[in-house]
Assembly symmetry: C2
Homo-oligomer: 193 residues x 2
């Protein structure tokens, strides 16, 4: 085998994750066969499973990466901004692949419901998003930007539920006409009036 640098290894790993994301989004977890994974990643099964033990491990790595990215954006820009970016993505994209991480998220939801072991493993990631949301809200509260008659954990939960709703709405391909107005309403509901 030729030597490859750490960078090359990381790039290859990321290529697999990106292709797999498209595949899971398009066909669902069960429908993402090895053959289809080969097509969307552009790599052979040998290469794919050199990096990931099996389909399960690949899916988990993907879901974890997406969860971490989202927590990062929340920490920097807040959950309403995450939602606004979702909308822009959905508006541009007749191409559903732009929103492929939504598919991963929906698969995560489904497995959380049917697989207690997965639920336990996933708890850390869902806690990460909650923590990022709360930290940012607390900073905003300290700056006097938030309403002060509702506790921060309630505001955080409110925003998270709205995100869940938005994700599932967009993933189902339902109409997005009123969604800008809805997000204005959401933002207004947490801010100091």
């Amino acid at each position: 085998m030729p030597r490859v640098s750490t960078d090359q290894l990381a790039a290859r790993r990321q290529q697999i994750l990106d292709g797999a994301r498209t595949c899971f989004a398009r066909y669902g977890y069960e429908g993402a066969t090895v053959r289809r994974l080969e097509q969307t990643t552009g790599l052979s099964r040998g290469a794919i499973f050199h990096y990931f033990r099996d389909k399960e491990a690949l899916f988990l790595a993907l879901a974890e990466q997406d969860a971490r990215r989202m927590a990062d954006v929340v920490a920097r820009q807040g959950l309403v901004q995450v939602m606004r970016e979702l909308l822009v993505g959905a508006g541009n994209g007749t191409d559903a692949d732009d929103l492929s991480w939504l598919g991963t998220r929906l698969e995560v939801s489904r497995r959380l419901r049917t697989d207690p072991e997965f639920r336990e493993r996933w708890q850390a990631h869902s806690a990460e998003l909650t923590a990022a949301t709360r930290t940012r809200l607390e900073r905003q509260a300290a700056a006097g930007a938030l309403r002060d008659d509702v506790p921060v954990p309630v505001l955080a939960q409110y925003l998270e539920l709205m995100l869940e709703g938005l994700v599932s709405h967009l993933t189902m391909g339902l109409p997005a006409d009123e969604l800008d107005g809805v997000l204005d309403l959401v933002e207004q509901a947490v801010r100091r009036s």
Copy 2:
């Protein structure tokens, strides 16, 4: 075959639907095997498929019934009330079967995403809920109970997204501590202040 009355036929049909709802919620659509459907309905496969052509037809009938029930409650009591009842159900129920229609809903979401034909068939039902929500909001607006600086379709969409978020949160078995406060916030956001 002994003669049976229309009432008996309807009761038997409902028995199958109720058992199937439990089965789909517990095992997901793919996991709801004929054997498991027999167990949860308490009927033989012969009896089940006398009433429903196949598993697909059974699932559709179930999803339609649940969608119609929800539209009914919305028309009478509003979407916030639907959400409050969900919470009470989730709070009482360590028994996930109480919330089994949530499972149906999540399966619907997943199929909407992956199955364009299903999406088309389902449009009518999702429109039914939207129409019920708007009608009720328009009545409340006429009575002066709603804020008047945001159009009714935006308020309706806002409530529907929140419902989606709540459903997916509860289905995943995530903590419900702050949800009463969240619903107060939601209700307040649509009312005249």
